[in-house]
């Protein structure tokens, strides 16, 4: 029996994995035309959809024009990872050390199992048996390839072929250069194409030293891949090489403080493991699992170096929110897992030598975290400038420590928003107000946005004061295409006799006018 080379590996690829998971999650049968869409662009589509001309990168509308019966689903990356888990488990049953490139693509070294199962055919049989037993995959395609090196194995899996040992270079030789980066976003591929290098073989024939000099480390790495000389060691799910820590609770626990107390040990290990490698965690994912299978996953980003106490605080906050929120689990918590998502070298977070800005920032962050523990996670907020037409929409408050990212881009033009200066105080919820004309009747705005009688008196409670100046009415006709969230009102600016300015909105039409104060120019 021929002994396989050290980095020969078996790769398993599930085509259109985002589609498969979205389809399974939505309970749609296989064979239906499905497209998965992020930010209005198709990121993946099923085979049936592809036959109708749907492609990656199309807009949603374009895709629907190609295929009217197309089912459009949002992307769910958490589900992608979750559903892929049984496949990874099937691979792990054959050999430890599974390397997951991303959900839908995983590999294992094939040398050990080949000897155990008596040849690669034996491994393939075992693997097919293991994968066939996964019920959740019902109807999903799954391709297997074997080759030398990670890149060649991935390409083999994409074509569902088994490459003889030592023939991987020949296999890669005729592949187009684009396979190095299927997303098509890499400037390197574009450059190579324009230089007339169209196959991996042509690229691999260039002298390595010249490639490094001309294209830098990224180019050199791609060059090694193209030549089938990818010498990346198999990293992956070996527990010591990973910084993920897991806490199993037996029996299940349904009290936050008990979980937090038990989590102290793993939190400490999480922090010290990273520190021993000269790393600090900038963002980590905390996964909690209940005994009935419910899961709460949340990413926590942190401005400074995470200490054990910081990690425990976040464990407490997340569980608090989960156990008291609307999606509370039906059983106790049996597992906690801490996964580092983004790490930075510790040096980047060291304090300035003379206690400069780094120190103040960390001190302030700690003080805010302390207030958060005193008053609860949702009590300390940080404002985020958000996109929108209403002043109220343009300010969003997120709990301190959560990622302050806007939901809608504030840089978009947002036609119809009020020009600066912005009102300084927002009323949430808006307070009902009285806006009366000179005859003490509520000011009416017609269907066409006209104001037959101008406002003369204004008040937030029962007593009204005279209006000295006003501007408007400016109609707001938002989301008219959606019957649930459509809004048709008019906005006015009112200055009362004391010089206070208000932003008020009122209803249009023939009914009794309703006025409310949205914001105050205090």
């Amino acid at each position: 029996m021929k002994i396989a080379s050290a980095d020969r590996r078996i790769c398993i690829w599930c085509p259109d994995w985002p589609v498969t998971t979205a389809r399974i999650e939505a309970g749609i049968e296989a064979g239906a035309p499905v497209a998965v869409v992020t930010a209005n662009r198709v990121v993946a589509c099923s085979h049936a959809a592809r036959e109708h001309g749907v492609r990656r990168g199309l807009r949603r509308r374009e895709a629907q024009a190609h295929c009217p019966q197309l089912i459009v689903l949002p992307r769910d990356e958490a589900a992608e990872a979750r559903v892929f888990e049984p496949v990874v488990a099937a691979l792990e049953a054959i050999a430890p050390g599974v390397e997951i490139t991303r959900p839908g693509l995983a590999a294992i070294g094939v040398r050990g199992p080949t000897r155990y199962f008596g040849g690669e055919t034996g491994v393939l049989h075992a693997l097919s048996r293991g994968v066939a037993g996964i019920p959740v995959l019902g109807g999903a395609d799954l391709l297997i390839g074997i080759a030398d090196g990670a890149f060649a194995a991935e390409q083999a899996a994409r074509r569902g072929v088994i490459i003889e040992p030592g023939a991987s270079g020949q296999f890669l030789h005729d592949l187009p250069i684009e396979v190095l980066d299927p997303s098509g976003a890499s400037p390197l591929i574009d450059l190579l194409r324009r230089l007339g290098i169209r196959t991996l073989g042509a690229f691999a024939a260039l002298p390595p030293r010249d490639v490094l000099a001309r294209f830098g480390p990224e180019g050199a790495w791609a060059h090694r891949q193209a030549g089938g000389r990818d010498e990346r060691p198999v990293s992956g799910r070996h527990p010591p090489a990973e910084f993920t820590v897991t806490l199993d609770l037996e029996p299940a626990v349904d009290r936050v403080d008990t979980v937090a107390f038990s989590a102290r040990g793993v939190a400490e290990r999480f922090v010290t493991d990273l520190a021993a490698h000269g790393l600090a965690c900038a963002c980590f994912e905390l996964q909690a699992l209940s005994e009935n299978g419910e899961e709460a996953v949340r990413r926590w980003r942190h401005a400074g170096v995470l200490s054990t106490v910081d990690v425990l605080d976040r464990v407490r906050w997340q569980l608090e929110g989960w156990l008291s929120g609307p999606h509370r689990p039906t059983g106790g918590i049996i597992r906690l897992r801490l996964v580092p998502v983004e790490t930075v070298p510790t040096g980047a977070h060291q304090q300035a030598l003379w206690g400069g800005n780094g120190a103040t920032d960390e001190r302030a962050a700690r003080a805010l975290a302390r207030v958060q523990t005193l008053l609860g996670h949702g009590s300390v907020l940080t404002p985020v400038l958000d996109g929108g037409r209403d002043p109220g929409q343009r300010t969003r408050l997120v709990p301190w420590g959560d990622e302050p990212t806007p939901l809608r881009s504030p840089e978009q033009p947002w036609p119809g928003q009020l020009p600066a200066p912005a009102p300084s105080v927002l009323l949430d919820p808006p307070r009902p107000a009285q806006l009366l004309d000179a005859a003490r009747r509520p000011v009416r705005v017609t269907e066409r946005g006209a104001m037959p009688a101008p406002p003369a008196l204004f008040g937030m409670g029962n007593d009204v004061t005279a209006v000295t100046s006003w501007a408007g009415p400016w109609p707001v006709d938002e989301r008219w295409w959606s019957p649930d969230s459509a809004r048709r009102v008019v906005r006015c600016q009112i200055v009362d006799v004391r010089g206070r300015a208000y932003l008020v909105t009122g209803t249009m039409g023939t009914g009794t006018p309703q006025w409310q104060v949205d914001a105050i120019y205090d």
């Binding site: 400038l385 912005a422 501007a471 300015a501």
Partner: protein
């Protein structure tokens, strides 16, 4: 403080004990429009009360926040992020504690430990207890922070400087025409020590397109006929 100085033979001051007592940490900057009211900026460890306008408070925080200081607002209703940014406040270093409830004093005290400027609005209905006022002022002094109590009308006892915005006049808006563009406000600063003499400044708050600007008073009307 003792009014003592060690003088050299020629009469020049060698060691001025009044200056020795002063802190080494530089004061926090304020925008040029406010510098006539707060000469030298926001002195660390002091208490500066603000009343009459939330915009004035945001303008007070603006320059310091843009320069890297951390700010916290305790007990305020929803503050507009947009307005805060117009006054130069860096939102990444601004924390809001809208409803601290019973823990108002504790929260303000904890924040004074590490946050450079803590603006605090006492809970509605009851003013802060005199003991709390003293304790918070002492905390701010020892931690080099600036406590900014925000009050509707009642004065904060023991404030070093009190800034009060009087009702202003809006421009740009007519009767059914135009829009709110700018407001001319008189801000009065009074206090203890150096600030005992009250100063008044006329300001655009907000200025056209946001922010704060000094308002030059209109020229007197000259009667050419006379």
């Amino acid at each position: 403080m003792l009014d003592v100085a060690i003088r050299k033979a020629d009469g020049s001051t060698a060691v001025d004990w009044q200056r020795v007592g002063l802190r080494a940490t530089p004061p926090l900057p304020v925008v040029p429009a406010l510098s006539p009211l707060l000469p030298g900026g926001l002195r660390r460890g002091s208490t500066v009360s603000v009343s009459g306008s939330v915009s004035l408070l945001l303008a007070l925080l603006g320059a310091a926040s843009a320069g890297g200081a951390w700010c916290a607002l305790v007990g305020f209703p929803r503050i507009s992020a947009e307005a805060a940014r117009e006054y130069g406040v860096d939102l990444a270093r601004l924390a809001l504690i809208p409803s601290p409830g019973e823990g108002w004093t504790t929260a303000v005290g904890a924040l004074l430990d590490a946050v450079d400027i803590v603006a605090a609005r006492p809970p509605r209905g009851r003013g802060p207890a005199p003991g709390d006022v003293r304790r918070l002022a002492a905390r701010a002094r020892s931690k080099d922070a600036v406590l900014v109590p925000f009050l509707a009308e009642a004065a904060w006892p023991g404030a070093d400087v009190r800034l009060h915005a009087r009702d202003g006049v809006w421009t740009g808006i007519g009767v059914g025409t135009g829009r709110l563009r700018a407001r001319q406000v008189e801000v009065v600063a009074e206090g203890r020590g150096q600030a005992a003499r009250s100063h008044t400044a006329s300001l655009w708050l907000p200025a056209d397109a946001g922010g704060i600007e000094p308002a030059t008073p209109l020229a007197d009307v000259i009667d050419l006929a006379g």
